[in-house]
């Protein structure tokens, strides 16, 4: 019987060879990730599990990205806890405040290789599936257990596939693909399942779009998102000089519980209305919605291509007087590249505020918090009640082109309206 990429990676990381969906398996972890929110709780739990060394100091990554640069004394303490722990245990991969967002930094620095099994103390760890990696998020206690043992248990997910066909139009990117899929199947449409993206249209999805798509697989309940290794992946990993990676592809007779077809040529830029990521509809159908803030950034859409698209739109134009425009490059490398390409100057000239790389605005942690009744168009991943501030504020999820256009227009609009 054939297997999917996800099943092949799981098989390569566990001793139970003949598993089927629903079985519980014990897997070895290649890379374990945590941040300044999930990390300190994991450290506390790890210490309760008995003092001692971590399973492999080369396989643990700590990124301080959520409340950084620290917003107050409490969050400064969290960062310090992680800094001290990293030093004490000799953890090799440490990214202090300002390096960037974990899911942007890890692929950028070549820490994630195709074929790996990655666990992160962050739900958006699913992002790395874009590289043909099995990656999923867990909570702090699980992370602590893995720090101690180097392994964890997983329930083998049922397999689901999204078949992409056709070529996308100018303003359509990965964000629209995933918002469309979630709008079709709902926020529990892939609950506990593996969500693979495949088909002849996959070649039109560059790595940045693939990261965006896999990033939001968790918003329909998926355990992991997945793009099989192909020419697009190869170009990316070769540019990084990665070696010893595995090129898995799904077998033709692999079993999928459900297959969804998406014709990229028919997609329009999508907007997920408040207060669920599944409330997606084409931007042309949202009506007249005036906005107070635009945020471009996050592990979903804070990569260089996202900033290029936004800059192309706002060049020579001004952010609407009633809108605060915020841009947070996903990492210091993205920031440096944007600086080199003149994008930062474009944004600044247009009246955008450049924020430090980090997660702050996306989860309502700090920077760009919304007041009661305010509306934000955001390139992030969640628009739950109170996500970015007051529980009576509203978040509209969109791609960077729609966000940039809306910043100029002062309301939610299709990019073609200002271009």
């Amino acid at each position: 019987m054939g297997r999917t990429v996800t099943e092949k990676i799981l098989a390569a990381h566990c001793k139970q060879g003949n598993f089927k969906p629903g079985d519980i398996i014990d897997v070895d972890v290649d890379l374990l990730l945590m941040n300044d929110i999930t990390g300190p709780v994991a450290v506390e739990v790890f210490n309760k599990m008995g003092d001692g060394d971590v399973f492999d100091k080369n396989k643990i990554v700590v990124v301080l990205d959520h409340f950084t640069p620290n917003k107050d004394v409490t969050s400064a303490k969290l960062s310090k806890t992680m800094r001290d722990f990293v030093a004490e245990k000799g953890i090799c991969h440490f990214y202090d405040a300002g390096y960037g967002i974990e899911h942007v930094v890890l692929p950028e620095d070549g820490l994630v290789k195709p074929g790996d099994l990655v666990i992160g103390g962050d739900s958006h760890t699913v992002t790395h599936g874009a590289l043909g990696v099995f990656s999923t998020g867990m909570g702090s206690t699980d992370v602590a257990g893995i720090m101690a043992l180097g392994k964890t248990w997983l329930k083998v997910p049922e397999q689901m596939k999204v078949l992409l066909v056709g070529a996308p139009g100018k303003w359509v990117s990965g964000k629209d693909v995933i918002l469309y899929v979630i709008s079709m199947i709902g926020t529990d449409g892939a609950l506990g399942k593996s969500l693979e993206f495949d088909g002849v249209g996959a070649k039109y999805m560059d790595m940045d779009s693939r990261f965006t798509i896999c990033n939001m697989a968790v918003e329909c309940g998926a355990v992991n998102g997945m793009f099989a290794f192909d020419e697009v992946t190869k170009k990316f990993v070769d540019a990084l000089g990665l070696r010893d990676y595995k090129e898995y592809k799904s077998d033709a007779d692999a079993i999928y519980k459900k297959i969804i077809d998406v014709d990229l040529s028919e997609l329009e830029p999508m907007v997920a209305m408040p207060h669920l990521p599944s409330n997606g509809r084409p931007v042309t159908e949202v009506g007249d919605i005036k906005i107070d803030q635009v945020f471009i950034g996050s592990c979903t859409n804070g990569r260089i291509k996202d900033l290029r698209i936004a800059a192309e739109i706002v060049k020579g134009k001004k952010v609407h007087p009633s809108v605060r425009g915020l841009i947070a490059p996903g990492s210091r490398k993205v920031f440096a590249q944007a600086l080199k390409e003149g994008l930062i100057e474009t944004f600044t000239d247009s009246g955008f505020t450049i924020l430090p790389p980090g997660c702050g605005p996306c989860f309502g942690g700090h920077l760009g918090i919304l007041a009661k009744g305010e509306r934000c168009v955001s390139t992030t991943n969640r628009n739950f009640v109170g996500r970015m501030g007051d529980k009576e504020s509203e978040v509209y999820l969109a791609n960077p082109a729609v966000a940039a256009t809306s910043a100029v227009a002062g309301r939610l609009v299709h990019p073609a309206e200002v271009m």
Binding site: G52, D142, A144
Partner: protein, 165 residues
């Protein structure tokens, strides 16, 4: 183990952001987190919840972030268990790991109203709605998860595994 308390009922997709908003994630003490529990959908929750009360939700309970702070906040409030139609994968693991029992029972959710008195017998695998005089079988857990629970959570489980290594 028996858990008895009033049902506090919510709808579908009760997400981790409404259980504990992001702004409070710099807190790590369950008692502090408890003060803001369910702030996104029910700001009075910390005041009205009593030890042993049972939160009842619809589908996809706990969807969203991996923040263990969400089950920690519920447990910190004294919530005895959560009964829902389905749970998000990460929340499910987190709750088990910290010893907050979760029960998947769509039928019971449909037939339970706010304030009903529920009793859960984990050993017998039975959930009772005492107010309505109804009884439900709780689906049994996989052996490996029972192992974790029988040792009192993942901390003891890992200690046990390390001892064997």
């Amino acid at each position: 183990m028996k858990i008895k308390g009033r049902a506090l009922k919510y709808g579908d997709h009760v997400n981790t952001d409404v259980i504990i908003p992001g702004a409070y994630l710099s807190l790590t003490d369950p008692k502090e987190l408890a003060k803001h529990c369910m702030e996104g959908i029910d700001p009075d929750f910390p005041k009205k919840v009593k030890a042993g009360d049972i939160v009842v939700g619809g589908v996809n309970f706990g969807c969203g972030s991996s923040r263990e702070h969400a089950p920690m906040a519920l447990k910190g409030c004294g919530v005895g268990a959560v009964v829902a139609k389905s749970f998000a994968a990460i929340f499910y693991r987190n709750a088990i790991n910290i010893g907050l029992p979760l029960i998947e029972c769509p039928e019971a959710v449909d037939e339970t109203d706010e304030g009903d008195v529920l009793e859960i017998d984990m050993d017998l695998g039975v959930l009772q709605n005492i107010t309505k005089g109804r009884s439900y079988q709780i689906p049994s857990l996989p052996e490996s998860i029972k192992d974790i629970l029988s040792l009192g959570g993942l901390i003891e489980y890992v200690k046990n595994m390390k001892g064997r290594a």
